[in-house]
C-alpha cells in the first residue's frame, strides 16, 4: 500500500510509451486494399507521343514500378533525383503516371529535372488514379510479373524505403 504513489507514475509511463509509438507512425500511410490484387487495367495516351497508348498489360511478364507524379507536386520534385539515379543504375522499368497535370508543364518538368521513366501515361482527369487509390502524390506501386500489385508506397520514396522495402521486394520478384 505504501507504493500507491507509483500507480499514477506507471499510468504516466504507459501513456508516454503509447504516445512515443504514435509519433513514429505515419498517419498518411494507409494500408492499401489493392495490395496483392491485380493492377487495375487502363489504356492511356503516352506523354511523349499522344498517338501511342500504354496499358499495364503491355508489361506482363516483367517486374515494374508505377510512379504517380505531377509537375505541381512538390514532394515529387523531392523524390525525383532518387528516381533518376535509380533508373540509371537499375534495369527496372519505371512507368510514370502523370496525374492531373498540364501536358506542357509535365514535359517541361521532365526536361528540366530528368526523365527516369520508360514512358509516362497521361491521366488527365485522375480517373485511373482513383482506380489505384491514389490520394497523395507521389505514390509508387511495385507490380509483379503476373500484373499483381505487391507494394504501394505513399509519399516520396526515400533512400531508406528504396533500400529496405522496394529493392529487396523487386529482387525477390525478379527471380
Amino acid at each position: 500500500m505504501k507504493q500507491r504513489f507509483l500507480i499514477p507514475l506507471a499510468v504516466f509511463f504507459v501513456l508516454v510509451i503509447f504516445l512515443a509509438i504514435g509519433l513514429t507512425l505515419n498517419p498518411r500511410d494507409l494500408p492499401s486494399p489493392l495490395k496483392d490484387k491485380p493492377a487495375p487495367a487502363f489504356t492511356l495516351p503516352q506523354l511523349a507521343a499522344a498517338d501511342k497508348t500504354f496499358s499495364p498489360a503491355d508489361l506482363k511478364g516483367k517486374v515494374w514500378l508505377l510512379n504517380v507524379w505531377a509537375s505541381w507536386c512538390v514532394s515529387c520534385r523531392q523524390e525525383h533525383p532518387l528516381l533518376v539515379s535509380f533508373s540509371k543504375e537499375n534495369n527496372l522499368p519505371i512507368i510514370g503516371l502523370n496525374y492531373k497535370d498540364q501536358l506542357a508543364d509535365a514535359k517541361n518538368w521532365l526536361a528540366r529535372f530528368g526523365d527516369p521513366y520508360l514512358l509516362s501515361a497521361v491521366d488527365a482527369d485522375g480517373r485511373v488514379g482513383i482506380n489505384y487509390g491514389v490520394y497523395g502524390v507521389p505514390e509508387t506501386y511495385v507490380i509483379d510479373k503476373a500484373g499483381t500489385i505487391r507494394l504501394k508506397h505513399t509519399g516520396p520514396i526515400t533512400p531508406e524505403s528504396l533500400k529496405t522495402q522496394i529493392l529487396p521486394l523487386v529482387a525477390e520478384l525478379s527471380k
Partner: protein
Amino acid sequence: MKLRSILLCCALMFAGAATAKEAAPMATDVAVEKRMVAISEELRCLVCQNESLAGSHAELALDLRREIRTMIGEGKTDQEILDFMVARYGDFVRFRPPVKPTTWLLWGGPFLLLAGGIAALIAFLRRRVREEAAPRLSDEEHRRAAALLDQSNAHDR
C-alpha cells in the same frame, strides 16, 4: 455603431455571394445531389483526413464527388458506391468502418474503458464501505478517549 452595422451588412452580403457561387454547380439535379451528399458524408476525405468527402475542398474530394455523381447516374446503389470506395481506399475511408477482427478494438475499446472505470469505481466503493464498518479505535483507545472527555468535562464545570 452605424458604421459597424453597415460593415456587418457588407460582410453578410459578400458571404452570401461567396456561398451562392460555390453552390452553383450543385444545383443540376437536386435528388442526385442529395444522395451524393448523404453518401459522401459517410466517407473520409483522404487528403484532409478529419474532413468528410462532402465537406472537403481538396481536388481529390471534388473528383470523388464527381465519381459518386456518375455512379448515381449509372443507377448504382449506395452500397455499391461505398464498396467502390472501400475497394480503392480501404476501410479507413468510411467514418463508420465495419466490425471485423482488425476493428474490434476500435469498436470495443470505449466499452472496455467503461467497464474498467466501473470496476475501479466498484472496488473503490467496496473498500470505503469496509473501512467505515471496521472499528476505528481499539478498546484501549476508547477507554483513553472517554477518560480524556471526562477530564475535560470536569474541567469545564
